[in-house]
């Protein structure tokens, strides 16, 4: 599994992903770590199948006892099905995840880790020097869903928003935005259910100062590509499965 430092100024944002050794049929995922001394946050730590590679990668950067917080943007298996194993590896941590999904996420195994439900309106988490905001992203795509914003690093960890389906050997950052939209279109049209939720999120995110938008799958957006993404997403019609069914019925 590859790792790359995205931000390093008093604390670090570290990317983990592009796991060439993962089982072939599972989707490639991006994991992130905010390393802030003895209080570190692991974001969307991933599925059970990539757990060992992820654990080994993380130990290259931090002592396990310093991982005090875990964040799960929503309940999907590629996000947090490894919870039962983290629960044994990091029994002292807290899991920040949507309050709505607590009863569901606990099915993955959560006997030692403390579950901290994020309220609908979002919340904040302060590590040592780092202040992070859990931003609501409900219905993008899960009914209880959050992203993580760091105003100092100007990084938005955007969960499934901005995700692209690409092979693990693909690059780290978006280089050709127009070409990249081909890898994103179906994902966003099919997984994102609501234009209303999408536009509400875009309006809120446009007010943030963002240098890097880091999704849970695919490449990271930098600089002007963040704005390009927001414009592209705004123009995209999502929730297409129902419309397709309607079209099929009409035909």
């Amino acid at each position: 599994m590859k790792d790359t430092i995205l931000f390093d100024d008093g604390y670090k944002w570290i990317f983990f992903g592009r796991d060439a050794d993962k089982p072939e049929k599972i989707i490639d995922t991006n994991q992130y770590l905010v390393k802030d001394g003895n209080r570190c946050l692991l974001l969307d730590p991933g599925g059970i199948e990539t757990f060992s590679a992820m654990l080994a990668s993380v130990t290259r950067h931090v002592r396990l006892e310093d991982i005090t917080e875990i964040f799960a943007s929503h309940q999907d298996p590629d996000i947090i099905s490894s919870l039962g194993l983290w629960d044994k590896a990091l029994p002292h941590t807290r899991l920040h995840a949507p309050w709505l999904w607590e009863g569901f996420i606990r099915h993955f195994g959560c006997n030692n880790i403390q579950y901290v439900g994020i309220p609908d309106e979002g919340s904040e988490l302060v590590l040592n020097k780092t202040k992070l905001v859990f931003i609501p992203a409900h219905y993008l795509h899960a009914s209880g869903n959050y992203h993580v914003y760091d105003a100092k690093a100007k990084i938005l960890m955007s969960g499934d928003v901005g995700a692209a389906l690409e092979p693990p050997e693909s690059g780290m950052f978006v280089e050709d935005f127009k070409a990249h939209t081909e890898n994103m279109t179906l994902f966003h049209q099919r997984w994102m259910p609501s234009n209303e939720a999408k536009n509400d999120w875009i309006a809120r995110v446009r007010k943030l100062d963002i240098d890097m938008m880091a999704p849970q799958h695919g490449r990271i957006f930098k600089g002007d590509d963040v704005k390009r993404f927001l414009d592209w997403f705004e123009a995209l019609d999502v929730g297409i499965a129902i419309k397709k069914l309607d079209e099929a019925k009409a035909a």
């Binding site: 757990f51 060992s52 590679a53 654990l55 080994a56 044994k88 590896a89 029994p91 002292h92």
Partner: protein
Amino acid sequence: MEKYNTYKRPFFVSAATVAGNLVSVMHIAKEISLAAKNAKAIAERAGEKANGFRPITDYIDEMGYETMSLVNAINKEALEVSRIAVNELRAKEVYQKLLSAKEYIGEDVPVSVEKLIQEASERLSEHTIELEKDKARLIHLLEEIKNQMRASAVISTCSRVEATQAEEYETSLQVVSENVDAASKKITMIVNDCDDLLAHH
């Protein structure tokens, strides 16, 4: 934090930590190779005065590369051991859950359930055997690195002696010998920590 300090690490965590710790060994091994290249350059400049030192630089260089390749192999093995340990843990959980299900059923446990329990028990045994084999292989590889570091300690002693013959180049070559010695000690310390991690299971 007290919770973390008092709990017994699962084996898969220790194995993954070994893989993580070895990254610093890799950096140190690279430093050894760099030291060897510097030593070669100094020995070239020193000409005949460094005749005894020159062959040692080849050895140091070779040792740096061998350490790096060994660390790569150990890293892969440690990751594999961690993966197998996770599989063993999952197999153990399946087996225990099936036993609980049998308890729920009470009397007249269906043959199909007994068969499932039997299969789960066999799978668990297979994982345990595989884990023990890989664990032994990992410990063996760690022992190999330690052997290499013991040899390195001898070489750095020899190189210190040879450096004394290099007249005005002595100080520079002594620095190289000390660097190699310090690097070997650091690697041995890290590998010992890895051994300790594995020994506690």
